[in-house]
């Protein structure tokens, strides 16, 4: 059995661990998973990190790597599409239409930083559609976490009344109330992956990529809360 | 008796157990070998030994009892530590001002400039302690303590590392202070010279206990105490100074038990001078003849080794003072070639240390009347 070194954006870590288990069961090969923020992983890869595969939380960083010629040509692909959800740990706070954003009695709303996190950027778009972005921003009620993991923590601790996180996270929570904005109200969150040029075993990496296309793998991803167009 | 104390301290290999009543004026000297507990006792009085168990009363004011202990900084005392201790971050001036500024103006009984001048610190005021010599540090520490205008002065070997000139400058000042401020002083020293010069009361400590204590005269001549067997063995005589007693040749005439005695004018303690002259130390007195009244009491020190005995009054010899005394007893001295003769001079006792050979040659016996010759300069 061989070993594959995979760098994963933190929000996909849990799912990747599940995939890794299955992959090992079916092929015997092992995945060595390093997680981090997409930005940090990108910086590490540009500086020679010994990864075979990179699963980013966006499409921007993989594209950048492609431009820099750091990936195997044609290896960039979308492995999952993120679904944004407004979530609160309080049971009746969020209504089915998300009107709470406009009229609700809440103090803080947490989102991932729109400048560097795709979910944050999407959240901003939703807020703009709802027409509350400006107000929240002016009233300094908008919390910008470094990523949706942090947003989740802030909401879960009750410090922020609600926040925009990934459906993949909200799924794990039984409690609370949620609203899933219409996918058309924000540009799709394409989580892309690439095989790195410096990979020590490109063939195995390719093998894993094609294994991911199998329905069983895709189902795992979908069940985790990602939008997988082909499966629907 | 207004300093009443009773202290006990248990340490691994040392135990202090002291009950004392000390007079509320004059100098009490604590005497004893290294490690006998002198410093520890001073620290107890100052309130610095927290483990000390005991009572302390000063002038009807209770400083310590079972359940109560007056904090150190509220006790109106001055403490000169054995190892001169100054604030390293302050220069000499600020060190001296430290205590001075913390005493209310109305309560100040010494003058800043006076102390600075007397201790010869004028040129050092801007220095930091690390830039001072050992003796200079000691003088500054002395100044700091004096400048708090204390009502009780505790001094732990304050002159141990001073040269004799500095000592000669400072001793009269201390004598003056003690008289002028009616300030009780507790003084630790190993120097018999300082003892005989300053002490009124002597406490002899041994292994943390008071072996003996009492007025200076009595202690010095007590045959059971070690004072009489040191090379410095001395007696202190009570004399009267005549006001008209100043002679042409700078001698002063005293009376001791009805007999005449001459001492050098310079040795007359300052407090027998008019008040405004008290600060002039080291100036010859010739110009300012002392105005002590006929019977003003004065004490003179006679070292045992300075006394010469004769069976008939000698002639043609440079010994000014010749007293008629009676031999009380003759004892062996530590030094086997010497004997210690106790002499009765009226009510007072005087010691003479002379060689055994002289005892034999002169055939000295108890109760014999002899002449005690003392060199004029031996008195002070």
């Amino acid at each position: 059995a061989k070993e594959l070194h995979v760098a994963v954006a933190t929000n996909f870590l849990g799912t990747m661990q599940q995939l890794a288990q299955n992959y090992q069961k079916s092929t015997g090969h092992q995945l060595l998973i390093s997680s981090g923020s997409t930005g940090a992983l990108y910086a590490q890869i540009s500086n020679g990190a010994p990864f075979d595969l990179f699963f980013a939380a966006d499409n921007q960083r993989p594209e950048k790597l492609e431009q820099q010629g750091l990936i195997l040509t044609g290896s960039r692909f979308t492995y999952a599409q993120g679904v944004l959800v407004l979530w609160s740990s309080e049971d009746n706070l969020v209504d089915a239409k998300g009107e709470v954003l406009r009229h609700g009695q809440y103090e803080y709303l947490s989102i991932a930083n729109p400048d560097n996190a795709p979910y944050g950027f999407a959240a901003r778009q939703v807020l703009e559609v709802k027409g509350v972005w400006q107000t929240l921003e002016q009233q300094q009620r908008l919390i910008r976490a470094s990523n949706i993991g942090q947003t989740y923590s802030q909401v879960a601790s009750g410090a922020a009344a609600m926040g925009f996180i990934a459906l993949a996270q909200a799924r794990l929570e039984k409690k609370g109330s949620r609203w899933i904005p219409d996918a058309s109200s924000y540009s799709p969150i394409m989580q892309q992956a690439v095989v790195l040029k410096t990979s020590s075993d490109p063939q195995l990496a390719q093998h894993f990529v094609s294994w991911l296309q199998q329905p069983s793998a895709r189902r795992i991803i979908k069940n985790a809360g990602y939008y997988m167009p082909d499966v629907y | 008796m207004s300093l009443q104390l009773d202290f006990r301290i248990h340490r691994a290999s040392f135990e202090l157990n002291v009950q004392l009543q000390l007079p509320n004026k004059g100098v009490t000297v604590l005497f004893g070998r290294s490690g006998s507990g002198k410093t520890t006792l001073l620290r107890c009085i100052a309130g610095l030994e927290y483990q000390a168990d005991g009572k302390l009363r000063f002038n009807n004011q209770i400083w310590q009892k079972k359940t109560f202990c007056l904090p150190v900084h509220q006790r109106p005392l001055g403490y000169v530590f054995q190892e001169a201790s100054l604030f390293p971050h302050l220069n000499v001036l600020k060190n001296m001002q430290f205590g001075w500024q913390r005493v209310h103006e109305n309560k100040r009984s010494v003058q800043f400039e006076e102390v600075v001048q007397l201790l010869g610190l004028g040129t050092l005021l801007n220095r930091y302690p690390s830039q001072l010599s050992g003796g200079q540090r000691q003088r500054v520490a002395l100044g700091c303590a004096l400048l708090t205008s204390p009502e009780l002065l505790l001094m732990d070997e304050p002159m141990a590392s001073l040269d004799s000139t500095s000592k000669a400058d400072i001793l009269p000042f201390l004598e003056m202070l003690k008289e002028r401020l009616q300030l009780p002083v507790i003084y630790v020293t190993h120097s018999m010279d300082e003892v005989t010069r300053l002490a009124d009361h002597l406490v002899y400590l041994q292994n943390g206990e008071v072996l003996a204590q009492g007025p200076l005269q009595q202690m010095l001549t007590d045959p059971d105490l070690p004072f009489i067997s040191t090379g410095q063995a001395s007696t202190v005589l009570q004399a009267q100074l005549k006001s008209s007693a100043i002679t042409e040749d700078y001698l002063a005439e005293l009376t001791v038990e009805g007999q005449r005695l001459f001492i050098s004018q310079q040795d007359i303690p300052r407090n027998h001078l008019p008040r405004n002259k008290q600060l002039q130390t080291n100036t010859h007195l010739a110009d300012t003849k002392p105005s002590g009244d006929a019977g003003s009491p004065i004490r003179v020190r006679v070292m045992a080794r300075d006394v010469v005995l004769a069976t008939s009054p000698p002639q043609q010899i440079s010994l000014l003072n010749c007293l008629q005394v009676r031999v009380m007893d003759i004892r062996d001295d530590n030094n086997p070639s010497q004997s210690l003769v106790r002499l009765a001079l009226g009510q007072q006792i005087m010691l003479a240390r002379i060689s055994r050979r002289s005892i034999t040659r002169l055939g000295l016996k108890p109760d014999q009347q002899v002449y005690a010759l003392i060199k004029g300069i031996a008195l002070n």
């Binding site: 910086a43 947490s110 560097n116 942090q150 009750g158 410090a159 | 530590f81 201790s85 971050h89 913390r102």
Partner: protein, 229 residues
């Protein structure tokens, strides 16, 4: 040459404000604690000493998370404050200050404790015999003699407050103009691959801290030379 955005400027300003306030508060509050640690003979001392070092052990983000639980509206402290009408502390500048203080606690307590241990003993006895009350001695003797310890405490706490961001991000919420500090701004630049912006803000932070530190150490040295310690 440098082009700082208004957000950068406001972040720098908040950073300085946070570092100064939390350092000052910390020194004020820790001095008595350090004094007690230096002089107490109590057995509890060892436990307190160990507790003081603990904030360092956990990763800042995690510490921040626990703090958020505590200070947020549902937390014990935050809830209590809320009831008092003060408002909870999460995502506020005050919360930031508290977090920052907690995190720099060991850097302040330990040097002060060491300094106070050295500055005790004989000089305090001398001060007491010169009529200085304990408080008076503390101000006029202990403090000047512990200068070195205070400088170390101040420098470490100040520098650490500048650089800390994990906990601050969590508990402060990165609200521009209120709780967004320079370290978060730099972090964001790095994440957003705007290395130019990151370099620029980093340089400003590093250079100005460097200048400040040099001034502090030079002054300290001068004070030492005149005293010939």
């Amino acid at each position: 040459m440098w082009s700082l955005t208004p957000a950068d400027l406001s972040a720098l300003w908040i950073t300085v404000k946070l570092a100064v306030i939390s350092t000052l508060l910390l020194i004020l509050l820790c001095a008595p604690l350090a004094w007690w640690l230096a002089h107490s003979k109590s057995r509890a001392r060892v436990i307190i000493e160990a507790l003081v070092a603990l904030p360092l052990v956990l990763p800042p983000t995690v510490m921040g998370f626990y703090l958020l639980l505590l200070l947020g509206p549902k937390g014990a402290v935050g809830g209590f404050l809320e009831q008092l009408g003060v408002g909870h502390l999460a995502f506020s500048f005050s919360g930031l200050v508290i977090g920052s203080m907690l995190f720099s606690l060991p850097f302040v307590v330990q040097p002060l404790q060491n300094a106070f241990s050295e500055a005790g003993g004989r000089v305090l006895e001398v001060a007491a015999t010169l009529r200085a009350s304990p408080w008076d001695s503390f101000i006029h003797v202990v403090l000047p003699l512990s200068r070195r310890g205070f400088i170390t405490a101040g420098v470490l706490s100040f520098a650490h407050s500048l650089g800390e961001f994990g906990m601050i991000l969590m508990i402060g919420g990165n609200i521009p103009g209120r709780t967004q500090v320079a370290s978060i701004a730099i972090y964001n630049y790095v994440e957003a691959m705007d290395y130019q912006g990151a370099h620029q803000l980093s340089s400003i932070l590093v250079l100005s801290s460097f200048t400040l530190l040099i001034c502090i150490f030079a002054l300290n040295r001068q004070a030492k030379v005149t005293q010939i310690h």
